[in-house]
Subunit: 252 residues, 2 copies
DNA sequence: GATCATAGTCGTCTGCCTGACGATAAACAC
DNA sequence: GTGTTTATCGTCAGGCAGACGACTATGATC
């Protein structure tokens, strides 16, 4: 395998982002509208070329910042500030995935707390948070009866892979806290699990489980009633990243 | 982000392989000796350029076949024949990971049963199975007091990531059977877990666990005494790919 | 052939975790 | 105050895992 520079075909390398958050009890992803062919006018995942002097993680963090003003937080560590969790997802390199040329895309997965409207590059209709169910139902209809075209390129596959990664990873890691603000209640954390998994969880058993797992949650001392009802204790994410024993996702 | 062909830097894209097997109670990886600079004479992971018309998985399967004469089996499905399990691992793209040019490597993980000596491209000392402990201890000494140089490029990191993936994945999937021949005994499967995790497992509890998990193992009816002692039942991998509940890796 | 070593297989028991609840507490809306 | 909502504490039964005893069936050794 000689590394003769003339012996290998040139590739374009991009990063694409699956940015997930939980809004109004639904798992949502960031989507941008394509302004040019191919797939002009269709929704796609945010992304862009990796620069010549840039690491893959740097490129993903840069794209994330450009789209959301989120500081990317280095992977594997739960975000202590309001930075998002960012980790590499998978790489997609089908020769025909981009009709114009050979593009290999290194997809990354970002998990963020609920944010204000996405910041667009000056264009209001450029980017939006869309429920993943809506983005993934091919040619289906969204909540307001508007027809939804499939995502551009192979982005539906990438999004599905990212969602599946998030679903399984909150089972055995403390990553669900990345969907929450710095301080949160047990109920808010439970609603994250319910939104991501799409199931209802028993509040009493959930409370016992998460408060009984050492290192998962640390109480801040404060309370809040922002959810209504009895005031709830506020917690911050503890240092533990791996949950042992894991949270159990209920039956299919 | 226009796709102007002059606007993106060209990359070389390679696949590198972490090929794991279990030999003599030790987890081993396939290593090849580099015949040219950089890192000439050092051990490295097998790999090569992705061709212009080739998918990433195809490239990985081709490289695997060239190095080991293993038919690659498509990912997520446990190999029913003697093909190896193959799945994408992660992508490594540090700008300085190859001193000559910008190379992005899509690493793949392959799990194979114990094989005869690796097939080299005519050169006997070209490739070998090496215990991962030996390959990963930087500048350490191998079993026979021979000094071991670190792997070339960032291959130590890639190998470590692959080993960690294998360690965690046999917990909740039936992937450990990919290390076994088509027919195997419960004891042989247990020794796979022991080698990969580096721990001792109770044979009685292990037997109860794996035979009690529906879809994991199907008896073939035959028995064997190739391990000595009382004849053991032979099994084949069942259809189940996900183990629920998972195998529990003992405490650190 | 008796004995031993080696592996495999079946049971038992105990502790822990989970799921399924009941019950109580503390806020807000009327 | 009454009702509603959410949070939090308890209780109980079933299931699974770890620890370990007991028995079986082969080959090796004397």
């Amino acid at each position: 395998m000689p590394y003769d520079p003339s012996a290998f075909p040139p590739f374009a390398v991009t990063v694409d982002l699956v940015v997930l958050t939980v809004r109004r009890h639904a798992l949502c992803a960031l989507a941008v509208r394509r302004g040019e062919p191919p797939f002009q006018g269709r929704w796609a995942l945010p992304g862009g070329f990796v620069r010549a002097d840039e690491d893959l993680a740097q490129a993903a963090a840069r794209e994330l910042a450009e789209e959301t003003a989120l500081r990317a937080h280095d992977q594997t560590v739960p975000a202590p500030d309001n930075g998002a969790h960012l980790e590499q997802l998978a790489t997609y390199g089908d020769p025909k995935r981009d009709p114009r040329m050979r593009v290999v895309s290194v997809a990354h997965l970002a998990l963020a707390p609920d944010l204000p409207a996405p910041r667009a590059g000056g264009d209001a209709s450029y980017a939006r948070w869309a429920p993943v169910d809506e983005l993934l139902q091919q040619s289906g209809y969204g909540r307001d009866e508007e027809p939804v075209a499939p995502l551009a390129f192979d982005h539906a596959q990438i999004l599905a892979d990212g969602v599946e990664r998030a679903r399984s990873k909150i089972e055995y890691s403390s990553l669900a806290t990345a969907f929450c603000p710095t301080e949160f209640t047990v109920g808010e954390l439970r609603r994250v699990y319910e939104a991501v998994w799409g199931v209802a969880l028993d509040p009493r058993n959930f409370h016992r489980k998460v408060t009984g797992t050492p290192g998962f949650l640390v109480p801040t001392g404060g309370t809040t009633t922002r959810q209504g009802g009895r005031p709830a204790q506020l917690f911050r994410a503890g240092g533990a990243t791996l949950l042992n024993p894991p949270m159990l996702r209920p039956e299919v």
